[in-house]
Every structure is written in structure tokens, then in C-alpha cells.
Amino acid sequence: MAQILVVDDSATVRNEVSAFLKDNGLTVEVAVDGKDGLDKLQKDGQIKLVISDVNMPNMDGLTMAEKIRSDLGNSTVNIIMLTTESDPRMKERGKAAGVKGWIVKPFKGDNVVGSIKKLVG
């Protein structure tokens, strides 16, 4: 049971982000790509926020966001993309998929922890 699902193919980023969130009193689950993220989200009904990379093998983060809304029918979980991408077309695709926000890497936890806490209630 976790509040936040961190999805990234990079172990470095998964470790960095989840350690920061845990230090701030949040519970975290991790997934290694979009497919894994969908699977973990389906199994854990307590997840309130997904923080996901965009470019990942097997399934990218935007496709995962689209499938969260369409295949899983989950319209309530908040989704934030944490990525090196800043292409406006990708952001538009994210918006259309119900992505709530966009962070361009690197992850600077202190800048966003307040917003993250609000999103997980």
C-alpha cells in the first residue's frame, strides 16, 4: 500500500525520488516502465499520485497515462511526468491524457514537495 507510484526505467532516478519522498513521510512504490506501472497501479488501490518518466522501454509514460484513463478506467489518480522532455507537443499529449503536471529533470524535491503533498491529500 503506497500513496505514490514512481515509474522510471532508471534505477538512479527511482532511488533518488523515492528516497526523497520517503524522507518526507510519504509511502512509495516503484515501477520500471509503463507496463510495470499499469500493473502496480491496478494492484494497489491506495495510490493517489503517479510520478512517471516519459521515455521508457516497453511502454512510455504518456501511453501509460492514456491507458490509466482508458484501460484501467481510473480517472482520479493524479499523474505527473518527470522527464528530460520539454517538447510542447508531448505536453499537449500529456494534457489530453489527463496528466496533471510536468517536471523537467533533474528532480529538485524541495521545489515540488509541497505540491506533491497536496496532490496525495
Binding site: 538512479t12 532511488n15 529533470k105 529538485k108 521545489n111 506533491i116
Partner: protein
């Protein structure tokens, strides 16, 4: 980087004539070449030893741009004709230039020597020497602003992923070499309307493992393995790639389908050699990651940009202006 930043290229020089050497030095200065001179005057050195010395330089300097030889024998009776074939065998991508006393043609040379050298210049012929340098070493123009930007983006990526580290970058330089440094390298495509090619990062695995052991990365492990070192290189590559895309590639300037040609990339593990099918010089950066407080070995990372599929630097200036509305990294932008 400072205003004095320039893109250089290292060249190997075997030259015994003082006047010819002076001309080479002048041309090196004019063209931002760094000359590495091998011994020509020690009487105890014969052909075998001179070749070995060149071999040593070839082994230790993986990032050369060209080789300058002379048909005139040195004090050990070793001439460029004696050396060029073995250099060519070892490093076929390096252009070899031969100084000749009475001509700048190759017709009277043996077929094997002719095949080994890229061009000849007559002693004192500054114009021909300059032409060879321009044709073979400086044949690809890289805007200094691009080099400065890539260095800045890369340093930021290293700083974000690796703590307590001083990062030094040598002057960016052009290389013709296609030698693989270390055991670990990453490769990621760079694609826009003004360039198509790859960025490659090369490093040594053991130093990256030490980096992890020293608890300067987000991988926490006393006994890191290959997956851990791969992860570090993966994320550094990803961050730099993203930074380059954000700064220099406009969202509107993706290459069209018509431009999506590809060529095979060939890797020869026994020779530690990678070929992208192009002989144009690559833009190379050498980063040294130094831990000032503790005695861990420096981590050397070579970064190469290989625009083997398309390169239009004139459009680069336009692209720089076209990229606007950049989001500050690390900030959450709500939709």
C-alpha cells in the same frame, strides 16, 4: 567555458627537419591543432623502436585527428614511408600526410604507401599543407556556441547525478579516431532538421563502480555490479540528451520521414573500434570527475557527437533562436 574556448584537434607528428617542423607548428597554431611529436633524433632508436613509440602514442591518445610524416629519413634512418603502412593498419580512419622534398604527388610511391597516405605536400608549401588540413581535419564546422552549450548541459547533468565532485572539461576537440575508450559506452540518437547522428559517452566500468561505492550517486550499494554502472551511464546520457533537445531542437524541426536514412554502425570488439560509416571529424569532449576530499580515482568520460547522417550548421543558429519558452528544470508546471 571562457571566451577563449576553441575547438582543437590533436595530431601526431614525426618530423626531423627543423624548417618543416616550424611550418607545421605555424599551421598547427593557425588551425587550432595540438601537435604530439614522436622522437626522431635518438640514435639508439631503430625502425622497430620508432614504430613502437608511435604505437605507444596511438595507444595512449585515443583521440587523434591526423598524422604528419616525412619522406626524409630521420637520424635513425626511419622515414614516413617506413611508418605509414603500419599506422594505417592500426588506425585506418586517421588521415596521414607525407611531406616530400621535390613533389606533392604520390605517383612514384609504392602502391602500398599510396594507399596508406591521404595526401602529400612539398617542403615549404604552406598553401597545400593548409588545404590538406582543411580538407581532412577541419572539414566539418562546429559552431563554438554549440560546443559551449553541450559542455554546460553535460556538466550540469554530472553535477545533478554525482555529488561532491569537481568536474573539469578539456578544450573540445575534433577527432577522426574511432577507438572505443573503456568498457562502457552509451549511444543515443540526436535528430533535428539541422543534424542527425548520435551522442556517445564512453568510460571505464571500474571507476564508475568506485563512484557508486563512494556514495556519490543515488545507487546505494557496497558491492555494485554491471547493472548499477549501466544505470549511472544511462541516466547521465538521458539527462544530457534531454538538455540538448530542449535547448537546441525546436519541436517544429523534427526530421521528415524523407530524411530518415540510416546506416549500420559497426563495432569491432577485438580492435575496440566503432564506425558510424562517416569519416568526418567528430566533436569530442573529455570530462574528468574528481573527488577532492577522498582518494578515489578520477572518472574520465569521453563524449562524442557524431553527425554522420545529416549536418547543417547554418541552421543551428536559427534553431537557437527558435527554442523559446523553456521550462526551468526541477519546477512543477501544472496544466
Amino acid at each position: 567555458m571562457t571566451e577563449e574556448t576553441k575547438i582543437v584537434s590533436k595530431v601526431l607528428v614525426h618530423e626531423c627537419d627543423e624548417q618543416a617542423l616550424e611550418l607545421l607548428k605555424k599551421m598547427c597554431t593557425q588551425n587550432n591543432l595540438v601537435g604530439l611529436k614522436v622522437s626522431t633524433g635518438d640514435n639508439t632508436i631503430g625502425l622497430k623502436d620508432a614504430s613502437n613509440e608511435i604505437d605507444d602514442v596511438l595507444k595512449s591518445n585515443v583521440d587523434l585527428g591526423a598524422v604528419f610524416l616525412s619522406e626524409e629519413p630521420d637520424q635513425n634512418d626511419v622515414s614516413g614511408m617506413d611508418l605509414c603502412e603500419s599506422i594505417r593498419r592500426r588506425r585506418p580512419e586517421l588521415p596521414i600526410f607525407l611531406r616530400r622534398n621535390n613533389t606533392d604527388t604520390t605517383e612514384d610511391l609504392s602502391p602500398a604507401v599510396q594507399e596508406s597516405i591521404a595526401g602529400c605536400y612539398k617542403t615549404g608549401d604552406e598553401e597545400k599543407l593548409n588545404q590538406l588540413i582543411n580538407d581532412f581535419i577541419c572539414s566539418m564546422y562546429y559552431p563554438i556556441e554549440l560546443a559551449q552549450g553541450i559542455e554546460q548541459i553535460s556538466k550540469e547533468a554530472f553535477e545533478n547525478l554525482i555529488s561532491d565532485t569537481h568536474i573539469r572539461c578539456d578544450q573540445p576537440y575534433l577527432v577522426k579516431d574511432q577507438i572505443i575508450y573503456g568498457e562502457l559506452f552509451s549511444l543515443i540518437p540526436l535528430e533535428s532538421s539541422w543534424c542527425r547522428g548520435y551522442m556517445m559517452l564512453q568510460t571505464t566500468e571500474s571507476e564508475v563502480m568506485d563512484l557508486i561505492r563512494s556514495v556519490r550517486t543515488h545507487i546505494k550499494s557496497d558491492r555494485p555490479d554491471t547493472r548499477d554502472s549501466n544505470n549511472i551511464l544511462n541516466e547521465v546520457t538521458n539527462m544530457i540528451w534531454g538538455g540538448i533537445k530542449s535547448r537546441y531542437f525546436s519541436s517544429e524541426d523534427s526530421p521528415t520521414d524523407a530524411h530518415r536514412t540510416q546506416v549500420p554502425i559497426i563495432v569491432n570488439h577485438s580492435q575496440k573500434h566503432i564506425s558510424f560509416g562517416s569519416t568526418e571529424p567528430q566533436l569530442c569532449f573529455k570530462y574528468t570527475l574528481h573527488e577532492p576530499q577522498r582518494p578515489y580515482p578520477d572518472v574520465i568520460i569521453y563524449q562524442r557527437l557524431i553527425f554522420n547522417l545529416s549536418w547543417d550548421p547554418d541552421k543551428f543558429a536559427e534553431s537557437d533562436k527558435a527554442v523559446e519558452d523553456l521550462v526551468d528544470s526541477g519546477e512543477l508546471e501544472f496544466f
